[in-house]
Symmetry: C2
Subunit: 410 residues, 2 copies
Amino acid sequence: MRIDGRRLIKNIEDLGKTGLDAQGRRSRTAASDADKAARDLVCMWMEETGMRIAVDKIGNIFGIWDSPDNKDEEPFMTGSHIDTVINAGKYDGCLGVLAGIEIVRTLKENGVKPVRPVVVAAFTNEEGVRYAPDMLGSLVYAGGLDAETALKIRGVDGSVLGDELKRIGYAGSGEPGFARPCAFIELHIEQGPILDQEGIQIGVVEDLQGISWFEVTIEGRQNHAGTTPTAMRIDAGLAASKVNVFLRDRCLLPGSRTVATVGTIAFEPNAVNVIPEKAVFTVDLRNPDEEALSAEEHALMDYLRELEKTDHVKVTVCRRSRFKPVLFDAGIVDMIEKGAADRSLSCRRITSGAGQDAQNLATVCPTAMIFVPSIGGISHNPQEYTRDEDVINGANVLLDVALLNVSAPE
Amino acid sequence: MRIDGRRLIKNIEDLGKTGLDAQGRRSRTAASDADKAARDLVCMWMEETGMRIAVDKIGNIFGIWDSPDNKDEEPFMTGSHIDTVINAGKYDGCLGVLAGIEIVRTLKENGVKPVRPVVVAAFTNEEGVRYAPDMLGSLVYAGGLDAETALKIRGVDGSVLGDELKRIGYAGSGEPGFARPCAFIELHIEQGPILDQEGIQIGVVEDLQGISWFEVTIEGRQNHAGTTPTAMRIDAGLAASKVNVFLRDRCLLPGSRTVATVGTIAFEPNAVNVIPEKAVFTVDLRNPDEEALSAEEHALMDYLRELEKTDHVKVTVCRRSRFKPVLFDAGIVDMIEKGAADRSLSCRRITSGAGQDAQNLATVCPTAMIFVPSIGGISHNPQEYTRDEDVINGANVLLDVALLNVSAPE
């Protein structure tokens, strides 16, 4: 049994056409008009496939294919997200949702009568660009945060998530965690260079690195850029720059598996001839080992305390998000490996460098992920690309694992 | 003869009340509504003092006190600017304009019949926060830039200076350079710590350090913050941070008289989990010695070229503004020193760390400046403060120099 590759590729292309701005940049941040357009399209395809749509309180979309015979069984769930970063590619997240719909089509066309429902999920605000924390929809689904609190979260644009979900018509009534699955598998592009560099077709994701996000505010003294002697300056912008350089130096220490990113920054008053009084920036720290990740966090805090002494600045740190490293379900990981082997696809065990909805699902049911190669490891970028044959291979392995989960035991 | 201190202080307080935003921050960038409010107030005071108002094509305001007998003589000019940085103090620039009006009041009240007109000037866009280059009004007045080109300059907010001057009613008809003066004296706060630290009442400004502004754009590669190994990153934000640290290290070299400031910065796409693809920031370099300043510029360019190799980024540099160091007129400098001595005020020769309208006037007539102490050297900051007695001392020395210039030779 194999999925219809042309049909899946076409869906990816069409979904990729939503959320393009005037300059042709693709941006579908959570609960935006662009996100609504993408959600409407996905719901239409789910309904065409004969699935019923359920939306929960946090806006997660579930396409449910069940029957009177199996409707009381724990469903098999697959899926991902369709929100994007700013100026994004078209595979990140979307592949997992669209491949889920495609396997339901394939199962139906092949007359499969599943012993349990199949649910395809599209989770809200995975990227976390508009609302923090990221992976919010799956976090609420898994009970890691209550919906009422989550709906009150204020976005970087000042909007409130609950209001925006109402506005775009995706504030549902489903209680978080309903349709608790027997298993969850997420198909995703690697978003890293390993599979592409090693020429491997399928990544069997056995774990996921921990993620730590901070917002750091450094306060100095606003003063004249020309008349203030260097020795008298308290330059918040310079201190922020030192932190960025410090983080990179840490990552370059021999044996370090940490990656660190300062992705956002703002100076105040942000004038060419005024020494910055304030610098606000974010830090994204990741490491597959919990001990190493917290060591990294402590090193950063120590450095910031040191900066207060050496540069006379005031530093405030606010935790934006924290996820421990995740170990996926060994049984599901074996199923994926077997599926790849049966189709004689090359595969390897791999760690997810990115945060994924699967890490939240892993707290409620056996979970694992399938990766397919990202050319050049490029992601969160319009040049993000995965070869059609790799997309199709990944979806076929997902189909195999789904079959193992929905077939009656021989 | 002495000025009316209470009257001058009251004017400074009242002008300081214009341009306050909702948070009480004082911001009067050039040709804004706040700038218009301040211009209207200053013109009202000039007219109350019996001066006629002339506005030139670039929006410079001239309050002219002349008589049928002296109107054909070269005027004596004083003044400064009333535009401000964002979240500014109330003395920078305003002191020079308001003290100019105050000395005209004093000369009239004392029945002085000047042998030449007295002109008080308020020059457009001295701070350069909204439109680059800074000191634009005096630059055009002095013929350093033609008015037509200057009026087309686009501001950081996308506005066009000429349109904004029309909008606020200060697009005048006067040709740049009209009313060419016999001499120009600018009274200004030091904006630096030297007079305050040394407990000296009057700074006799004999020269002014050179200023070099650049806008630097660094382009890297947008990529995923979690999945991109450190070795594969091309982080434009990190490269920008390295430049900021490099500039400070240069300023800390033994014997360096350079000051350097990165006052503005912006990352793209500016998302917490995306490696910055682009960083745009400004550099403000100053040094009193032309050779040392250009050496500093070359060191920066060499470092940026080096960054292109080491960090694989693309760097584009755009010159925003450049002023050579200025030597003021020895005769005027002597007059100021004599005026201070006659009033038994402590004084010292000093270099202006800031750019000043006086540096442009120095290219058309004998020019110098009078500084009064800035407490703690704080400026471009709401805490900017100069003691009332120092304000009054400065205005009285300006009065003395004016008298020397407008009295009939004995």
